[in-house]
């Protein structure tokens, strides 16, 4: 066996060397200049991004501590080990990387899977946490790293990775690892911050997943930013309404839900939440009007159960005091 290993290694080295020589003949387009969004800077390095050298298998906690630190959260990589590290998998899962910032009053936003969104975030001053695959698509070896900048002229990315505080990668090498890793990247946002590359669906999904673990005021800030940016999106109004509801401000909640219903009259979730808010405001008749057009049988769980619940509450309120003066209740939208 050993005898055959040496010639094989030599053959491999020869192949590698000849391929390297060959590469001189192939011209490839640069990546960064071709993906530079309008207004993005040509050179960025977010040098203030903290660095935590990773311990064995723990690039997840190290990378997360860096992007949280850049968002003014004071947390070490060690403190994040019990939060995102999965011992039997020798690594950290994407879902938990996205969820962990909520513990610190931050929300994570997974970027669109193209290079220009990574560049746009860096240009806006946000380091980007990426998932790389250094194996093959069929034999993956996963690694999290933090991109802290790029140099358009040299077509290079600057990273904090593993035990390296600062390492420069050619954009092509970066792309191979990122592409084979499914082009996954995330940034950490303060509630109310909208990413530079924001896509309404991705953002509203992220804000919705943030909602339950967040304080009502943080959730409100996240959805309020969405209302300002995308006022035509019913989910933005629903989210802000729910934050208002959870803070006990039922009138504000009803106003936001009513706007969602106006934008999307078929939206049973918005109607249900509006009905519940109206009920809390002492307006069961108005609440009932909201639920009248909703077809229960067409709804999926848990919305279905919620609408049935709301109906029961309305019925209970009406039978408890059949004559309620609703003249102070605002007219239906």
């Amino acid at each position: 066996m050993k005898k055959r290993a040496a010639p094989q290694a030599a053959r491999f080295a020869f192949l590698a060397a000849s391929l390297l020589l060959l590469s001189a003949c192939v011209t490839r387009e640069p990546f960064i200049p071709a993906n530079l969004p309008a207004g993005a800077r040509a050179h960025v390095e977010l040098a203030a991004t903290p660095f935590y050298p990773q311990k064995k298998y723990q690039c997840g906690p190290a990378a997360l501590a860096a992007v949280l630190g850049a968002s003014n959260v004071d947390v070490t990589a060690d403190a994040l080990v019990p939060v995102v590290y999965l011992p039997a998998r020798h690594g950290s899962l994407q879902v938990e990387m996205l969820a962990a910032p909520r513990k610190f009053g931050r929300l994570a936003y997974p970027l669109s899977r193209n290079l220009d969104s990574v560049i746009a975030e860096l240009s806006a001053g946000r380091p980007v946490l990426v998932l790389h695959n250094y194996g093959l698509p069929s034999w993956p070896r996963w690694h999290y790293a933090v991109v802290i900048g790029y140099d358009s002229a040299r077509d290079e990315f600057i990273l904090r990775s593993g035990t390296k505080r600062r390492t420069e990668w050619s954009a092509r090498t970066f792309m191979v690892a990122w592409h084979n890793g499914g082009r996954w990247a995330m940034v950490v946002l303060r509630p109310g911050e909208i990413p530079a590359s924001a896509d309404p669906t991705l953002y509203l999904d992220a804000a919705a997943d943030f909602e339950r673990a967040a304080k009502p005021e943080d959730s409100r800030a996240a959805f309020d930013a969405a209302v300002q940016r995308w006022p035509q999106q019913p989910v933005a109004w629903i989210g802000r309404g729910t934050a208002e509801y959870r803070a006990g401000r039922f009138a504000n909640a009803a106003r936001d839900y009513a706007e969602a219903v106006r934008l999307d009259p078929e939206n049973a979730g918005a109607r249900n939440n509006l009905a519940q808010s109206l009920l809390d405001l002492g307006c069961p008749a108005r609440a009932r009007e909201q639920l009248a057009p909703v077809e229960i049988d067409a709804l999926a769980s848990p919305l279905r159960e919620a609408v049935l619940d709301t109906r029961r509450h309305i019925d209970a309120a009406v039978s408890a005091s059949p004559v309620i003066d609703e003249s102070r209740c605002s007219p239906p939208p």
């Binding site: 690039c59 690594g91 938990e96 999926a300 159960e305």
Partner: protein
């Protein structure tokens, strides 16, 4: 006496509010993409939670930390984990032998023998 009545009143009002809030408002995460949330009923979520809790403990997460980790997740995320905890990508370490495979991949890419970006 007045004081006691006051406390009871406040308690009752709080009870009513908590009941209303937990009962009938639907989480926004259940509304963003209704088709994906189709099977996210209360029972499904409870099963997911028990499933993920058991798997995580088995995979070496400290029992005390598991609940705190699960508390950060939305129902959709919990479901994703329940389905894919064993096989989802887990970013970890990079040892040199893997680096070697990667270098070959890079060389093949650079020389144009393969072009992994063709499809995009």
């Amino acid at each position: 006496m007045k004081f006691v009545v006051g406390i009871v009143c406040v308690a009752l009002i709080n009870l009513g509010m908590a009941g209303a809030a937990s009962a009938a408002i639907v989480d926004t995460s259940a509304l963003v993409t209704p088709d994906r949330a189709a099977d996210m009923g209360v029972v499904r979520t409870q099963l997911d939670r028990a499933d993920v809790r058991a798997k995580m403990t088995e995979m070496g997460v400290d029992a005390a930390a598991v609940d705190s980790r699960l508390a950060s997740l939305s129902d959709r995320e919990l479901h994703k984990l329940a389905v894919d905890l064993q096989n989802a990508p887990a970013g970890g370490d990079v040892v040199w032998i893997i680096g070697a495979v990667f270098i070959v991949l890079i060389i093949l890419e650079l020389t144009g023998v393969i072009d992994i970006f063709k499809k995009t």
